[in-house]
Structures are given as structure tokens and as C-alpha cells.
Symmetry: C2
Subunit: 381 residues, 2 copies
């Protein structure tokens, strides 16, 4: 079906997220040399502006990699082969921790949650108790593949008091800027993040922050590209060990400026409002949420009902309305639709996404009152 | 000293190199999702367009990393701990191969060349003969820290015939597009490159190509982020294992289009002309080249003469004329000045760089006939 005039593609997938003009234009000055005082100042300013977003009392580091690179950096700097670790696997990204830990020779105890459910602190502690001397526990803050927000603060506090020496590592790639992170206060030892989620820019940068405790406990292991001690020594002066992706750091600098102008608390509150409004819209359209509670405020996951073809719905949203939603991955393919409201998303962007979903559902024959989703969201806002 | 009106900063450092407008603007469409057929097609097209630049008969892969990431990928996929390897160390980047090989537990035989000199095939073979069963030899095509172009083709052919099973690995990060690379024909097993050199775009992407022989000889070793077999399986369909830096791939796509429009042979010939012209200019200004032969066509390295302060010259070029040249690193600090003519550099850009150098030399009291460098370069062109 031919698309109406003036409809451009827009991203409603859980990363990359919409990029503000100011952020994308920041990379158009291509006269910056990464080994210059100008760049060192820009880089260090970014690290400093990341600090309150991580809630760390140490400097977060910037890596030239996608988020998985920061996950690998956490694994190879904080564990050694043979270390006992627990992985909370609540989906595709939990599985990534599991694969990483196994690839690097850890002795892994896995807590596997059914898709759409979140593990709790009891399960985390029970798994740790099975080990003689647990070195670390790995989890997500937000499991992007299912739209579940893990109770990471509660898990961290419970684990910290039961296992004072266990390092607590949280992948907050799709969570930072959407859900509160105060790693120092929450007792979290390592948080990893990526540029293309809450930071409203392209992928290609990964971020990692370690607690003072974690810095004192770096493991012995072969590593080079992801050697965090080397990075820390340089980045404290704005100098990355390896060539930094200059254009992406320029994007980041502008994005961080926008976040701090708005205020982190205001950004977090907006994500909470948008999450609630999106969920209200889903119910009003007669659809069900996929997660059993523990709803993410970064993305809303709809269970595709019987009688609707999930893949056809996703394709229709894109081809007819330019709305790029995400489907399910692996065994969830066709069964869920993921609608992200992460990063630089205004209430109008949110309503546009809901409206695109309503039009598509109507086109595909789903019976509900057109406008009910948008109306419910507006009342919720 | 206050800068004259209308002088903008311009890069004459060996990476990042100047970025054409078409290349930078290609990243302004931020509606592309990396898990979509549109992106898979764009990505695969980039890999295919890299192939003739590497001269490989297999598909080059794109990694979300800076060039050092591709060096690490070569090391961890082609060697195992305890393997015997030779490293040709002709400067800071040769040293990086050495550090990488040692970090990953190889038994390393190093051929160290004095700064400004290149190792030859005799030295490579002599080093390999010291080992019982050499697994691989690592070298640079172009040693960026000194401006020396290694005789990599000759070394590769000699090593290939003397040690048929030894893998030959070449870091061509600052060489590709400036010096010919036909890895299959030259008998080279692995070539690594980076986006911010001959490709006229920002850093953040690394490239790696393996010969069919190398693909059949992947080592057993712990790896995850830089697992090339996993990448190959996906990238043959345009799907990177980890989230791809979308904006940088858009830049790359446009840059590769420009390179193929001009023709690779024309691009190589231009680098050769510019190298010769830059060297003629240096001599005409009464200065000396730092390398003892084996001149790079990617950058020209000037030996800072007695009576001139190298650091002051570099600072003056930048502050007064907006011309960002590179100095020496580590023990070469203040002793050399590096003038790059790599990537999307026209003859006018080249002349501008030479003119900026002339004006700066004159300001700092170096005695020569102003205009002699530019004139010599123009006659050479």
C-alpha cells in the first residue's frame, strides 16, 4: 500500500532512539583532532556529565564499542577464569551475560526467569548460596527483549548485605535516563551503558563505571583493548587509550548538555509518566501487556493477541506509517511488539507512536474504538 | 597572536583526515534501525565495496571499535597462548603489536628497527628462523609514528615462500587507500584498517579481512566481542553481531561511493603524486625528511632542524593558521613534524598545508625563500 505524503520514518524501537537536531549537528565540525587539548576537555567534560547519571563517585569511562563491548570490559576486568559467578537471565540480554561468563571460563550459576518475568532478590541470594565463594553477580536493569524492569535496587541491597564481598554488576544499557541509577548509594559495583538508548544519539560508544571497591578488586587476566585501568589513567585527563570516535563524542557532549539542561530528575519523571501513559493506551485498545508486572518505563511490550499477526503488524507500522517498532527476538518472534519511549521522546512523539499503532490495528481488522489509546494516554499524562 | 579573519581549523594530522560534506551529511538521517533490511543492505554493500580496497577474495568485516580493536581481533582469532610469533616493530604501532602479542601470552620474537627505518625481508626471515614453529608475523604497512612505509609486499612474498604455514598479518590502518593492497595476490593473511584514515570519515569503525587460509586456521582461545567467526556468519547477510554504529556506517557508505566513483587506482596514484610533491616541498624549504628512505605517501615526516623548536612550530601552525599538524610521540616529541596527505585530500589542500608550513617557518625565523615549497610541489604535481 502506498504511503501517504509527508510521512517520514521514525524510530519507536528500543535503540537507537530519536536524535535531536542539536545532537546530530554537533558532529558536523570535523576539524577536531583527538590528540588535542580541545578534545581532551570535551571528552573529560562528557565523563564528568555522565557521573550524576550513573550516580557513581568515580569517573565513568567511555569506550569505542557498542554496549556489548562494555559488558565484555566488565567481565574481563572483574573476573578471572574459574571464578564463581551468578547470572540473572531474564531474556536475551541476560543470556548475553551468561555467554560472556562462560566464554571467559567462569563457573556460572544461572537464574533463568520465564520470558516476561523478573527474578527477585530471594532467587539471587539462593543462587549465590550454592557457590563457595561467589565473585560477582551479573544482571540487567531493564531486559530489553521483554520489556521487564528488574528490581535491581532491591537485589543489590539484599546481595550486598548477605554477600559483602560479591561484586554487583548491572547492565543498564536500556535503562539509564529512564530508571533511577545511583550506583554508589545502591551498592552497585559496576554499571554499563550505551550511547544509542537514553542518550539520544547513534550507537558506537559504550560507558562503564566502577565503584571504588571494584577498582580495588580488578582481576588478573589477559586483556588489552578493554583494559580499564589503562583507560582510567588516561581518561582522568580526557585521553582515551585508543582513538576515540570523535563525531560520536561530539554528539554525546550535546546530548549530555540537553539532559542536564532539562535536569536528570525531570528526565526520569518524564519516562515514568510516558511508561504509565503507554500502558494505559495498550489497555484502552483492548490489548494486553506482555510482562507480568515489573513494567519498564523505557519500552512497553504488547502481547500480540490471537487473531493478529505480529510480524504483519510490525511491517504495516513501518511501511504505511513510517513507525519503526520492534518485534520479538528468537522464540518471541511474532508474539510481542515492543514500543519504546526511551531517550529524547516528547509527549507528542509518544502520542504519535500510539496513533500509528491504532491506525495499524484498525487497518489489520482489530476491533476497538479508534482514538481510545491516544485518549487514555492523554488522560494519563 | 590573533588569528586573521576567515581561517578555520583544518586537519593535516595522520588521522582523522578531512571529511567531505557528502560524507558527514550522510549521517543526518537518523531514522535508520540497525535491525532492518534497509540497514542490512547498506552494511553488506559497504563490506562489498571494501573488498577491492583490501584486495581480498573474502568479505572484509566491520567492527564497532577503533583500529586497535581490529588489531586485537587479529591477535585473539589467529593466535593461541604460547604460540611463537614475530613482530616487526618499527615504531609506536609496531610496539602495539608487540604489547598485544605479549598481553595474550604469545612467545614473541621482536625485530626492532631504529626510528625512521624500515625492516626488510631478510630480518623478518632471520627472526622467523629463530622459532621452532612460527605461527604468525605481525607488521605495519605504514608506521604512522615515523612516516615509514614498510616493504610489506616484499616481506610477505619472502616469508610466504620460506614459511608456507606462517600467517602474515598487516596493520594497514594508515596505509589503505594510500598504498596498494592486494592481500590475496601478495599472500597476506590478515589486513586491519580504520575508518578515520584513508576513508575520510570519523574514527569508530575498524575493518578486518582474513584470507581463506586464515579463516581455516582460526585459533582456540577465549573471545567474545571480537569473535570473528560469529561476525562473519552475520555480516555475510549484513548483520553485525553487536549493534553497529549506524551513523558511522552511513558515513562509510558515502565515502566508499566517492572512492569508487574516483576509482581506486586514481586514488592510489594521487597519494603517490602528493607524497612526491610534499617531499619536494620539504627539500625546497631547506628541511630534511626524517625517514631514511621508504617514504610513506600517506604522510611526510620532517626532521625538525637544530635552531627550530618542533613543539612551538606545531603550536604556531595551529594557533595562527588553523593547520593541525602532528608532532612526534614519546621519544620523538619535538623532534619531528608529521604532515599527512591521506584520504580525501585535493592538490589544493596539499598546497594549503605546505603554505601554512612556509608561513609558520618564516614567522619562527627559519631562513628560506618564501614560496619555494609551494612552487616545488606545484612543479612536482
Amino acid at each position: 500500500m502506498k504511503r501517504e505524503p509527508f510521512i517520514n520514518n521514525r524510530l519507536f524501537c528500543p535503540g537507537p532512539t530519536p536524535v535531536p537536531d542539536r545532537v546530530k549537528h554537533a558532529a558536523l565540525d570535523t576539524s577536531l583532532y583527538h590528540r588535542s587539548d580541545d578534545f581532551y576537555a570535551l571528552f573529560l567534560d562528557c565523563c564528568n556529565k555522565l557521573k550524576p547519571i550513573f550516580g557513581s563517585d568515580t569517573l565513568p569511562l567511555i569506550l569505542a564499542a557498542s554496549g556489548t563491548g562494555a559488558m565484555e570490559a566488565a567481565m574481563v576486568n572483574l573476573t578471572a577464569a574459574g571464578d564463581e559467578v551468578v547470572v540473572l537471565n531474564a531474556g536475551k540480554f541476560g543470556e548475553r551475560w551468561e555467554k560472556l561468563a562462560k566464554a571467559y571460563g567462569c563457573n556460572v550459576e544461572v537464574v533463568r526467569s520465564p520470558a516476561g518475568e523478573a527474578p527477585g532478590s530471594d532467587e539471587a541470594v539462593a543462587a549465590l548460596k550454592k557457590l563457595k565463594s561467589p565473585r560477582a553477580i551479573f544482571m540487567q536493569a531493564n531486559e530489553t527483549s521483554t520489556g521487564v524492569r528488574l528490581p535491581y535496587e532491591d537485589i543489590a541491597q539484599t546481595v550486598r548485605s548477605a554477600f559483602p564481598h560479591c561484586l554487583i554488576v548491572v547492565d543498564a544499557i536500556s535503562s539509564l535516563c529512564a530508571h533511577p541509577m545511583k550506583m554508589e548509594k545502591m551498592g552497585i559495583d559496576c554499571v554499563v551503558a550505551g550511547s544509542q538508548k537514553g542518550f539520544g544519539m547513534a550507537p558506537g560508544l559504550a560507558f562503564i563505571a566502577l565503584s571504588s571497591r571494584a577498582w580495588k578488586s580488578i582481576s588478573k587476566r589477559e586483556r588489552f583493548y578493554f583494559d580499564l585501568e589503562r583507560e582510567r589513567k588516561g581518561q582522568e585527563k580526557g585521553r582515551s587509550a585508543w582513538t576515540s570516535p570523535i563525531s560520536l563524542v561530539q554528539n554525546l557532549s550535546e546530548a549530555l548538555l540537553l539532559i542536564h539542561e532539562a535536569g536528570i530528575d525531570a528526565v526520569l519523571a518524564q519516562h515514568a509518566r510516558h511508561g504509565a501513559a503507554a500502558r494505559a493506551a495498550v489497555h484502552a485498545m483492548g490489548l494486553k501487556l506482555f510482562p507480568k508486572g515489573h513494567y519498564s518505563d523505557a519500552l512497553t511490550t504488547v502481547a500480540v493477541p490471537q487473531g493478529l499477526d505480529g510480524q504483519a503488524l510490525q511491517n504495516h507500522l513501518k511501511s504505511r506509517y513510517g513507525a519503526v517498532f520492534a518485534g520479538g527476538q528468537d522464540e518471541l518472534k511474532g508474539k510481542i511488539l515492543r514500543f519504546a519511549h526511551l531517550g529524547f521522546v516528547s509527549r507528542f512523539d509518544l502520542l504519535d507512536g500510539i496513533a500509528a499503532l491504532e491506525f495499524s490495528l484498525k487497518d489489520l481488522g482489530w476491533r476497538f474504538e479508534t482514538g481510545s489509546g491516544v485518549g487514555a494516554a492523554m488522560r494519563s499524562l
